[in-house]
Symmetry: C2
């Protein structure tokens, strides 16, 4: 049974793209078949695998707009041993969002595309833009599980309540199968009291829904996308990579 | 003559809100009359001054939706000596964005509201969400100058080209007065080669449009919003605060 997980948080810069890329790489190296979908018009996930979004002719925009678009036609092999399938974003994804807004089934375009294509993957991970607009909504409707990265900063923490409210609304009205897989802390700085306080607050509010695994703040995460690689693949023993390995193992055993 | 500056970058988490708050505080302490406008449905600017967005009854959403809404009615005094006027965001701003999308003058709602209200301010700073949607577009049309914070990370740098293209499109089609005030680097880590390389790349591409002032990475920026304060006010001698002082002085002398 394919597990479809959407990584979402409307707060910007909290590690959504980095998490989809590194979790995808770790799950693939653990032997799972992985599909990554880039639903962000900025195409950061696509770029972080070294692909120039300006060079993409078909990808997520076509998948959303055309009724019979075969997924396999524009999958790009990426990641360790190029065993991951990436559905890339191109710059026309912003225009596609505007176009699908006029369709009666505008919130279920991605869900239908995935159902139509009978994807042979164990995991589908979906990266979303920093908003709660139609693209993120398509991700929340297409997925059965939501994973929420939370940067260890006060301003990032305060948006989580609104996001959880949105998830329950989507579950009630659009996707009854949707459930919260969990929240996890990113960009944790062990020397900063602030990080420690934010995590304590998260745990006191969301309790068991907060994964024990914490992703440390480390500049290597910012560097590796230049090489079109993930930290998990590039420096598998690095503390940041090991954290995503652990998170992948916990998620895989969660299923 | 009032200077209206919109702070924009569709990449998330690059320091837009932090910059509007700290620049606003510094300009106010330099003796200027400052109005801050929160155009982000997340209301991070509002929250960073200690105001609970759930408690706001009228603010930016009403300013955009109602034709004769007086600006002065919902301004909240904030910042050093409470001399800054803040037009707060409330949680209904996301709904307001959807509603104004159906209006013929949807891109000029904020511009008209500011013209109608004959604002007695020296500076109007506008915070925008991490997207190039209708709210950010309203900010780009209402302003005469655009200021772009760029985090010193590869993934943040790659989106600047698309943003500049959008600014020229807005200038051609909607707001001929719009000009690029400049770009500045944020979250700079002097010990990381990556930060140094990103800045060098920015300067080689955008040349004199990149301010010399660099905002350092410092956890204090993440901490002070908990107290509803800006770093400029809370720790004026701190290196992060001093960087925003310098940026404010350079901007004020730019006019
Ligand atoms: N644990 C980490 N430590 C340090 N830097 C990180 C970490 N994780 C991600 N980064 C870097 O921080 C920046 C923000 O991360 P990322 O782009 O993955 O966040 P995002 O939530 O996808 O952003 P957006 O909201 O713009 O889509 C990127 O430059 C990334 O390389
Ligand atoms: N120079 C800095 N050093 C360290 N942390 C910073 C710095 N500037 C801002 N921050 C923190 O980083 C996070 C992102 O900054 P901020 O929220 O201002 O960015 P933004 O671009 O407005 O984000 P969004 O795209 O979500 O609106 C915040 O938690 C903020 O407190
Ligand atoms: Mg992203
Ligand atoms: Mg912001």
């Amino acid at each position: 049974m394919t597990r479809t997980i959407v990584v979402a948080n409307q707060k910007g810069g909290v590690g959504k793209t980095t998490s989809v890329a590194n979790l995808g790489a770790a799950l693939s190296l653990l032997g799972h078949q992985v599909l990554l979908i880039d639903l962000d018009p900025q195409a950061a996930l696509t770029a972080s695998f070294g692909i120039d979004p300006y060079s993409i002719s078909t990808g997520t925009p076509q998948l959303l707009m055309r009724d019979r678009f075969p997924l396999s036609r524009s999958l790009v092999p990426v990641g360790p041993g190029r065993r991951i399938g990436l559905m890339p974003a191109s710059l026309s994804l912003a225009a596609a969002e505007v176009q699908i807004a006029f369709l009666p089934d505008r919130t279920t375009r991605l869900q239908q595309a995935l159902q139509r294509n009978l994807v042979p993957f164990d995991y589908i991970l979906i990266d979303t833009p920093p908003s709660l607009g139609l693209l993120t909504l398509n991700g929340l409707v297409a997925a059965r599980e939501v994973l929420i990265p939370v940067q260890c900063h006060y301003l990032a923490m305060r948006g989580v309540r609104g996001l959880i409210e949105t998830i329950w609304r989507v579950k009630r009205k659009l996707n009854p199968d949707l459930s919260l897989l969990g929240l996890f802390a990113t960009m944790y700085d062990p020397y900063s009291r602030h990080s420690v306080e934010v995590i304590a607050e998260l745990r006191s509010v969301f309790k068991t829904k907060v994964f024990n695994v914490i992703i440390p703040e480390n500049v290597r995460f910012a560097e590796v996308p230049v090489a079109g690689k993930t930290l998990v693949e590039y420096m598998p023993e690095h503390e940041g990579a090991r954290a995503y390995w652990q998170l992948a193992e916990v998620i895989a055993s969660h299923g």
